[in-house]
Symmetry: C2
Subunit: 245 residues, 2 copies
């Protein structure tokens, strides 16, 4: 560990990727080479590192994401701090930490950040740690307590996508209602009734029907819509509604 690193605080980034079919998460390889194959292993982990001395948490999260994956300018939101005293106590975690010169007995608090990106528009270019997109539903046995961090990050993402219009950032500027519905279905892992969804979408003032239709599609072209941030802000209701999610 470098001298300018804070050994007590780390950041873990849960980078969700939506590809119009499923929800993915960006994972790194955590490989321990050893001549004895019963000791060698290759685990997967979230994108994480320690913060530097005198570095803010947000700056550290952006730096770590860039250094590990080459990704920049990605929205990152802090969602939770994890500090269980036994969070680094898995046998492999201890072996790994010792192999990189760290003391597994030192308690490390890690701050979780999450993000949601369109996997089709984002290239994981610089990739020394073999970053790759994995189907969230198939991920298990991550290093350290990263299964728990992923679970909590997914809860944070779901709360966010239900309470703020972040979904539209992931769609093309002009989208179909089927694309919008698919996004919510994939992220929330639910089936949504098509008629009901269309009705609600058409009732909102800020999802605006265009006179354009899809082009270059094999099926019957569907109507296109746009999200208007101006209308959303101007019509946002501050009033309370008994609409607990």
């Amino acid at each position: 560990m470098n001298e300018d690193t804070n050994p007590h605080i780390s950041i873990d980034c849960v980078i969700f990727g939506f590809d119009f079919e499923k929800l993915n998460v960006l994972l790194l390889e955590r490989r321990l080479e050893h001549e004895d194959p019963s000791i060698a292993f290759c685990d997967q982990s979230l994108v994480g590192q320690h913060i530097k001395l005198k570095e803010s948490l947000d700056d550290a999260a952006a730096r770590i994401l860039f250094e590990t994956t080459g990704l920049t300018n990605i929205y990152l939101e802090q969602f939770y701090a994890f500090g269980a005293p036994d969070r680094l106590n898995k046998e492999r975690a201890k072996i790994w930490l010792k192999s990189i010169g760290r003391d597994p007995a030192v308690q490390v608090i890690t701050i979780g950040y999450f993000s949601l990106v369109n996997t089709n528009t984002v290239q994981v270019s610089y990739n020394p740690r073999h970053a790759s997109w994995c189907d969230v539903k198939k991920v298990e046995n991550l290093a350290f307590d990263h299964d728990q961090i992923l679970k909590k990050g997914l809860e944070a993402l779901r709360l966010k996508i239900k309470s703020e219009p972040i979904a539209f950032e992931l769609l093309p500027q002009k989208f179909t209602l089927s694309q919008l519905q698919k996004l919510y279905e994939v992220v929330l892992d639910i089936n949504i009734d098509k008629r009901n969804f269309r009705k609600k979408a058409l009732q909102s003032d800020y999802i605006v029907a265009l006179s354009e239709k899809q082009k270059d599609v094999l099926h019957k072209p569907a109507q296109l819509f746009m999200f208007s941030r101006e209308i959303y802000k101007a019509t946002k209701k501050e009033d309370f509604s008994f609409n607990f999610k």
Copy 2:
């Protein structure tokens, strides 16, 4: 600082108190005695301390709240980690830290927890640090970065009270709709249209009208209601709604 204390991580608790009139926050005195009155001061701060070695964040939050105020069994929810490198850089903060033997140059990450309690049912009994309830609207110039932590805690409370039925924990088991409305008005700092509020409340299945009315009141007794957690859980809609808050 004790040897068993983690000097890098602290907890700050934003304890909100609702008294049916206004929203309060529990503050401590931070007093520096000094023969030179230009150096002596008495600031106010949130309820906070460092965590102990090998202590989980949740355990630390509960312990710190108890040790400082005598309060136990209070729901505490983590909401944000604060780690700006200059967060302890106020002149008074540095004087205070030196006076208790701490190095202001050491970066401390603090994890914020919030809670909402009914000030009328909670006694701040054990009170060596002069804990007292202060009107949130009148609080300013708190120690360290506690103004910012309070602001963020208030945002977290508002999001929570809009997205989950925590409001009912603060009311008597049988309540009037006016009491419920007042609670939302005070916490969200908005005025709610009475007719609209009653309509929405009556539309929800889980706010159940009783055949009882208020007793021992000087004005015309109002109808009483109860919140049914069973009905809430059984009728909770997982479906998506375009109802961004």
